[in-house]
């Protein structure tokens, strides 16, 4: 049994979950849409974008990046649940490659997030968001968003394998909010106090959000600085760095199950 084939079978397990219990994923998607509407229409009127531009078109790429980052939660939860219920041990007692479990998770979560991205794109287009760049750039923007999801996937696998209690899951669910908001996903860093803005600009989430804005041809809310000049490069570099750190940590955590 190749690791790839085993990974695909474990991915299919997740896809089968959607068919049997569609309401979980549907509410997840509705939650993304709700956040979009809350920020777009409830808070949006009060938010100015430095450099000008419409808030909805500014917001959409940010919401996409935010929802990719929030994926860390579902990855960590799924890993922790399987470990707690003994399903991970069952997989480990089977004649499959040691990378199969992680690969299955990657397949399932990337598919999940691709659907989420699609819903946000369609929802955005419905409320007035527009792509004003060329198709090539737009595709690159989508790929960068998925790259961020791929990076936080490894954080999720690491956290899920390392902290298996239900309390840890809740901690992840709470912590993603300040990390998510301390970025340029929802508001421009230039409207924050200087030190906070600097911190937000260095958030990997900000790199992806800004790069996506540039590539979709949307207002970025950033007029100067490293982020404004090198957003795409940062949106490639940050996720790769995260993978370089957390993929080995995940592998180590998986080996450590061997006590």
């Amino acid at each position: 049994m190749t690791t790839l084939r085993a990974g695909w079978i474990i991915t299919q397990r997740e896809l089968a979950h959607w068919v049997r219990e569609p309401w979980g994923p549907i509410f997840n998607l509705l939650f993304s849409v709700m956040l979009l509407l809350v920020f777009g229409f409830l808070f949006g009127g009060a938010i100015d974008i430095p450099g000008g531009g419409d808030y909805i078109t500014f917001l959409l790429p940010g919401m996409m990046a935010l929802s990719m980052m929030f994926g860390v939660e579902s990855t960590a939860t799924a890993m922790a649940n399987d470990a707690r219920k003994g399903i991970t041990d069952r997989f480990r007692s089977m004649p499959i490659g040691s990378g199969s479990v992680a690969l299955g998770r990657v397949g399932a979560d990337m598919t999940n997030s691709a659907v989420e991205l699609l819903v946000l794109i369609v929802g955005g287009l419905l409320i007035g968001w527009r792509i004003t760049s060329d198709p090539g750039s737009a595709v690159l923007a989508v790929l960068l968003l998925l790259l961020l999801r791929f990076a936080v996937l490894w954080i999720g696998i690491f956290l899920g394998l390392t902290f298996r209690g239900e309390g840890a899951t809740t901690a992840v669910q709470v912590l993603v909010w300040p990390i998510g908001f301390l970025s340029t996903a929802i508001v421009s860093a230039e409207t924050m106090p200087a030190w906070l803005g600097a911190l937000a600009a260095w958030n990997p989430l900000s790199a992806t959000a800004t790069a996506a804005r540039q590539l979709f041809g949307n207002p970025t809310g950033i007029t100067e600085g490293v982020l404004a000049d090198h957003a795409v490069l940062l949106a490639i570099g940050w996720p790769l760095l995260l993978v370089a750190v957390f993929a080995p940590l995940s592998a180590r955590a998986y080996r450590r199950l061997r006590g």
């Binding site: 397990r13 049997r20 219990e21 399903i87 480990r92 499959i96």
Partner: protein
């Protein structure tokens, strides 16, 4: 040749010696009970023998393959039933078995065929397409065991399979384990329920503090703790200790009294014939017992005797 051999297994978690020179030899086709209290190291044994953890020392082979150096071959020949029913609760029973079957390397059609066979064997055909979350505890456990039998393993490991189950579900699991062994699979079953080992296993190992402290058939183990017991149940609680004292004098053996059941128990080394002594003593005292029971020692008594012999740590 033994299907399962463990020699001198050692495993440390910090200061805790979870396995401290653990030895075990199991011939093919039997149900072997591994008995021990919580924390004795039973789960560590199962994890070491199913290739889930690395041991610090010692050797072990399962179906002739070394668990350390030939883990892939071992994994193709074992089924692991852990303390939790490790099945996907969202999926149906059939979906679970097909998924695990395909992970074991079966093609789609073969995996479906095997799933149907197992569902039939385990009486789950009617519930095959329902989500496992709707199953009873016993059904869930049966599905769990079925998933461990997909490749008809040489050895099935069951780690406390009836913990948390009601008596009916427990009986279902016991029947399943017996059928599995009858089809030729060697079973290693850990349990802290003494009657479970007594009911199922033909050979029992008692472990404590990471090593085996006694080995043998249930009967042999019971013999090791002494002869038959006779328990006299007294009608009046107030009389209990008075009667117990007088009986002990007459029989010449120390009495163990139980206030809750109003029982007085003697060990009778001379066997059944000594019962007449007890009956005569009751007659002399003018006491008519509510009940008089002659029995072999229970494994509870075996266990207590064996662990009391263990030096305290």
């Amino acid at each position: 040749m033994n299907t399962l051999v463990a020699e001198g297994l050692r495993k440390r978690y910090g200061d805790l010696h979870a396995l401290d020179g653990f030895d075990l030899h199991i011939p093919p086709g039997v149900i072997h009970g591994l008995l021990g209290p919580n924390g004795a190291g039973k789960t560590t044994v199962v994890k070491a023998l199913t290739t889930l953890i690395d041991v610090d020392g010692g050797t072990a082979t399962v179906a002739g393959f070394d668990v350390r150096t030939q883990s892939a071959q071992v994994r193709r020949r074992i089924g692991l039933i852990g303390q939790n029913a490790a099945v996907d609760e969202v999926l149906g029973g059939r979906q679970n078995l097909v998924m695990f079957g395909r992970l074991y390397g079966l093609g789609k059609a073969a995996a479906r065929e095997r799933a149907d066979e197992l569902l039939d064997t385990f009486g789950l055909t009617d519930a095959a397409d329902r989500a496992v979350s709707t199953y009873s505890g016993g059904m869930r456990r049966r599905l769990d065991i079925a998933a461990g039998l997909i490749l008809t393993p040489a050895v099935l490991f069951l780690d406390e399979p009836t913990t948390g189950l009601d008596p009916r579900a427990r009986n279902e699991v016991w029947a399943t384990v017996r059928e599995t062994a009858a089809r030729g699979t060697t079973v290693l079953l850990t349990t802290q329920y003494l009657d479970e080992a007594d009911q199922l296993a033909s050979e029992i190992s008692v472990m404590n503090h990471g090593k085996i402290i006694a080995n043998g058939t249930p009967e042999a183990l019971k013999r090791q703790v002494g002869g038959d017991r006779v328990t006299v149940t007294i009608g009046q609680r107030d009389d209990l200790h008075h009667v117990a004292g007088r009986l002990a004098e007459a029989v010449g053996e120390p009495a163990v009294t139980d206030d809750d059941t109003r029982g007085v128990t003697f060990e009778l080394p001379a066997g059944v014939t000594a019962v007449s002594g007890v009956v005569r003593a009751l007659d002399d005292l003018g006491v008519t017992p509510e009940d008089l029971l002659l029995r072999r020692p229970t494994l509870d008594e075996v266990f207590l005797t064996l662990t009391e012999k263990e030096p305290a740590r």
